[in-house]
């Protein structure tokens, strides 16, 4: 026998079982008919996770229909009940071992379900990938591997199944391990290990296999309890995408709380915070919470809130960081690997909306560098469109700067989704920040006068009011704001031209009033995104202000911190 014990997953053997009793999210993938269902059925039976009598009922049913019992039937029977006639998507299976509970997401082998696979697998902390020992590495073995890598699943174990059908041959196992390891290396994934199993016979699932003495690593069940829960990392640089700034005045509350979920790192009272991309700074005055003991620190994974020493204006979409720590990139161009799920292909030049952390900004596909077949890894460098289910390397350009990290450094703030026509239709991870801006605000050049000086002169920050009640109402509103002492501008043009002009007016510190009555809902959204939500008030039946009353608009402008109270 060629195989020595060194070949069989030294990394797996060295992992100690964890003493963590929190629920672990697990995804299982693999090519159609490579035996996922049988393995899941085995795991459910071995952990006593089946409803009473279920095993017996399925066995009896097999006998009646004179077909041999298979563990896969168990899963089918469970799914039928779970689905109650509804098409299965990423089915969740619940079970527990002696040490902790698991949610197992069964990744559908069919490509049509990629959307559901992503929904299920993106939350997974570990993955099992099943490969048939006879058939070897196939299309979906590779595709699932690629997707799991893009989704950032760090713990992967490969199960080489149906070993009974190849006579428990160690060399067959070694060949598949070599081939698949080489494939994974190309996409930058290092698996924790490979386990030779037989779902049908139960080898190495819940008990060691007498038929494969050459394998001395852990069984699948033992391996599960070695996966580590993904814990938010408090030792990395502090990142908190700002979800909102709350000022609830009820009951005399005068706290102004910056709220968000801490992706990484920690922050404490007295720390200097830098908000990006604006670059505004202040110090943490208090860490807030409701029905918790008073505390001075917030850490990764927590939904936090803090107040600042100075009243600076920050808004949703910025990233809170701590001065002195490695800062995120701020740019309008970035290179990314992305996967596309939309029926309509994604073409060069297409306008989309990019959501990264809490930032939401229109972007254009500047270039498609190469399209990758997620299964064969064959690349095509001459394409100008990305079809559904393809993976591509692209350069994206945003209309205004955003703050982000490289996915390889900080995953949480290094990935984004693409929204197109109201739906999330793609996702990607940032590989590189690029120089140069193009059409953003910076395209018009920057003078010596900074924002603070303009605010001091004008008595307000820049803002945008989109009025959908008609030109007359828009003109009257501009006049009222102007007469009230604001520096204003008025625009009445097609949405595209307005979107071009708005950044210039905002840079000049003006409050721009736009007649948007002829704009479609998507155009209003586009112009609003160009300026940023925090700077924009939409006045109209479905907007922030229902009526074009100057007083009502003024109140919202004050609420947003654009006009002073």
């Amino acid at each position: 026998m060629l195989l020595t014990t060194e070949r069989s997953s030294p990394s797996l053997r060295d992992l100690p079982p964890v003493a963590d009793h929190r629920r672990l999210h697990l995804v299982i993938g693999g090519h159609v008919d490579h035996g996922k269902s049988t393995i899941i059925g085995r795991l459910l039976a071995a952990t006593g996770s089946l409803p009473l009598g279920k095993l017996e009922a399925v066995r009896a049913n097999c006998e009646r229909n004179s077909k041999p019992f298979e563990y896969a039937f168990l899963l089918d029977a469970l799914k039928d009940e779970q689905s109650q006639g509804i098409t299965i998507d990423a089915a969740r299976v619940f079970f527990r071992t002696a040490s902790r509970p698991y949610i197992l997401i069964d990744a559908p082998g069919h490509i049509e379900f990629l959307r559901n696979l992503i929904t299920g697998a993106a939350r997974a902390e570990a993955a099992l990938l099943v490969i048939d020992a006879r058939e070897g590495v196939r299309e979906n073995s590779r595709r699932h591997g690629t997707m799991m890598s893009l989704l950032g699943i760090r713990q992967l174990v490969v199960l080489v199944n149906k070993m009974d059908l190849v006579g428990y041959d160690g060399e067959a196992f070694a060949r598949i391990e070599d081939e698949y390891r080489a494939f994974l290396a190309k996409i930058g994934v290092e698996p924790l290990g490979f386990i030779p199993v037989s779902g049908r016979e139960g080898d190495n699932i819940a008990r060691p296999s007498a038929a494969m003495p050459w394998y001395d690593g852990p069984t699948v069940l033992e391996t599960l309890d070695r996966f580590r829960s993904e814990v938010a990392d408090a030792d990395k640089p502090f990142r908190m995408p700002v979800q909102d700034v709350y000022k609830f005045t009820a009951g005399g509350d005068d706290r102004r709380i910056v709220a968000g979920t801490v992706e990484t790192g920690r922050i404490a009272v007295g720390d200097e915070v830098v908000f990006l991309p604006s670059g505004k700074r202040s110090r943490v005055a208090t860490v807030e919470g409701f029905n918790v003991e008073p505390r001075r620190e917030a850490r990764a994974g927590e939904v936090a809130g803090f107040t600042l020493e100075e009243q600076i204006y920050v808004a949703r979409g910025e990233v809170a960081t701590v001065a002195g720590q490695p800062a995120p990139r701020v740019a309008t161009r970035l290179k990314a690997s992305l996967f596309w799920l939309g029926r309509k292909p994604l073409e060069t030049g297409r306008e989309v909306v990019l959501k990264l952390g809490t930032a939401r900004v229109p972007a254009r596909i500047e270039a498609i560098h190469r399209v990758l077949d997620a299964s064969t890894l064959a690349t095509d460098e001459r394409r100008d469109r990305v079809e559904r289910h393809e993976v591509a390397e692209c350069t994206l350009r945003t209309v205004r700067p955003i703050a982000f990290d490289l996915a390889a450094e900080l995953a949480g703030t290094g990935r984004f989704v693409i929204v197109d026509d109201y739906e999330i239709r793609g996702g990607g991870i940032v590989r590189e920040a690029l120089e140069g801006g193009g059409e953003g605000q910076a395209a018009w050049g920057r003078g010596q006068i900074d924002e603070a000086r303009r605010v001091e002169r004008n008595g307000h920050t820049a803002g945008l009011v989109l009025v959908t009640h008609g030109a007359e109402a828009a003109r009257a509103l501009e006049a009222a704001l102007f007469d009230g002492g604001a520096q204003t501008a008025y625009l009445e043009a097609a949405a595209g031209r307005v979107a071009d002009a708005v950044p210039v007016l905002l840079d000049a510190g003006l409050i721009a009033v736009v007649d948007a009555s002829a704009f479609a809902a998507s155009e209003i959204a586009f112009v609003r995104d160009t300026a940023g939500h925090e700077l924009t008030v939409v006045s109209g039946p479905a907007g922030d202000v229902g009526v074009p009353e100057p007083a009502a608009v003024r109140a919202v402008l004050q609420e947003k911190g654009i006009l002073r109270s």
Binding site: I86, I257, F290, N291, R295, R299, V417
Partner: protein, 304 residues
């Protein structure tokens, strides 16, 4: 003091994780939906949801709470609702199918069966209240009286306390689930949801249901009520007659279960190891009738 707190913080347990995800979702909903409301059935799940809103917004509840009053709710539930609304300064909105009640087209009046009654007094009333077609009554905190609310705008974001473990179809819900104008749910064509990014954009005429409690189990709910000391209706507890409600609904259609649990701790014990163990675990599926209780049937009846 700081050390003790820091220690508790490093060992975040499963309740902390569930709480964090739910709070994150509530804040996303609040940031993205102008016409947002939260359904409050007065039951334990939606009361936990309400508490999570206080967590998310630092003691405040800046989202209106919508309660559909069938007029057959157990009186204690209504008293509890109005008491908390005052105490927590809630924007309390109540909707009702006044026509059906006036015409006595209800099950307790003997005019229709249970299912029809539910669809008239609950489903229909909910749809028309959310759309603004029927008047909404709003609690005036100064007078303690309900008055007709001036806001008739349709709610485009509706926060609901549904849990995935309640029944099979709910295990396929997303956190942000789009609904068409007719409130229909297209299970096959659901948007993907990953990396904390949700469907927060929607076409005119559609709305989004938001489910912050999707990952919670019945046991988690009670554990959290215990940890946070959330006030609950006393109907959930046995007051000496060996009976209590496991879920709350209309008086005529909700029955007690046999249980000796007198407080939250005893309910948790009962769910973990007592007669109710395995039921929540098993996603409330029918095959568990083997555990002898007809409890499933009870629960479904009470649950509606």
């Amino acid at each position: 003091m700081t050390t003790a707190v820091a220690e508790r913080r490093t060992s975040t347990d499963h309740l902390d994780q569930l709480e964090a995800r739910s709070v994150h979702i509530l804040r996303e909903a609040y940031a993205n939906f102008r016409q947002l409301c939260m359904l409050w059935s007065i039951g334990k799940d939606s009361t936990v949801l309400l508490w999570l809103a206080r967590k998310a917004f630092f003691g405040h509840v800046p989202i209106p709470l919508v309660h559909i009053d069938t007029s057959f709710k157990i009186p204690e539930m209504i008293a509890y609702r109005d008491r908390l609304a005052q105490e927590w300064r809630l924007t309390m909105i109540v909707g009702q199918n006044a026509e059906a009640l006036a015409a006595k087209r209800t099950f307790p009046d003997g005019a229709v069966d249970r299912i029809t009654c539910c669809s008239l007094l609950k489903t229909e009333a909910l749809k028309k209240t959310l759309s603004g077609e029927w008047p909404r009554r709003r609690l005036n905190l100064a007078t303690g009286q309900y008055e007709v609310d001036r806001n008739r705008e349709p709610y485009t974001g509706v926060i609901v306390g549904a849990r995935a473990d309640e029944e099979g179809s709910r295990s396929k819900e997303r956190y942000f689930s789009p609904r068409t104008q007719a409130s229909a749910w297209d299970v096959g064509e659901q948007p993907p949801e990953f990396w904390n990014q949700y469907k927060t954009e929607f076409a005119p005429g559609t709305h989004v249901r938001i489910h912050p409690l999707l990952d919670w189990t019945e046991l988690n709910i009670w554990e959290y009520i215990q940890r946070e000391r959330i006030p609950t209706v006393s109907l959930y507890y046995n007051h000496g007659d060996g009976k209590r409600y496991r879920s709350l609904g209309c008086g005529p259609c909700t029955q007690c279960v046999h249980s000796d649990a007198r407080d939250v701790g005893e309910i948790i014990e009962e769910l973990k190891s007592g007669k109710f163990a395995n039921i929540a675990e098993r996603s409330g599926r029918g095959q568990d009738a083997a555990d002898g209780g007809g409890l499933e049937t009870l629960r479904r009846d009470g649950y509606m």
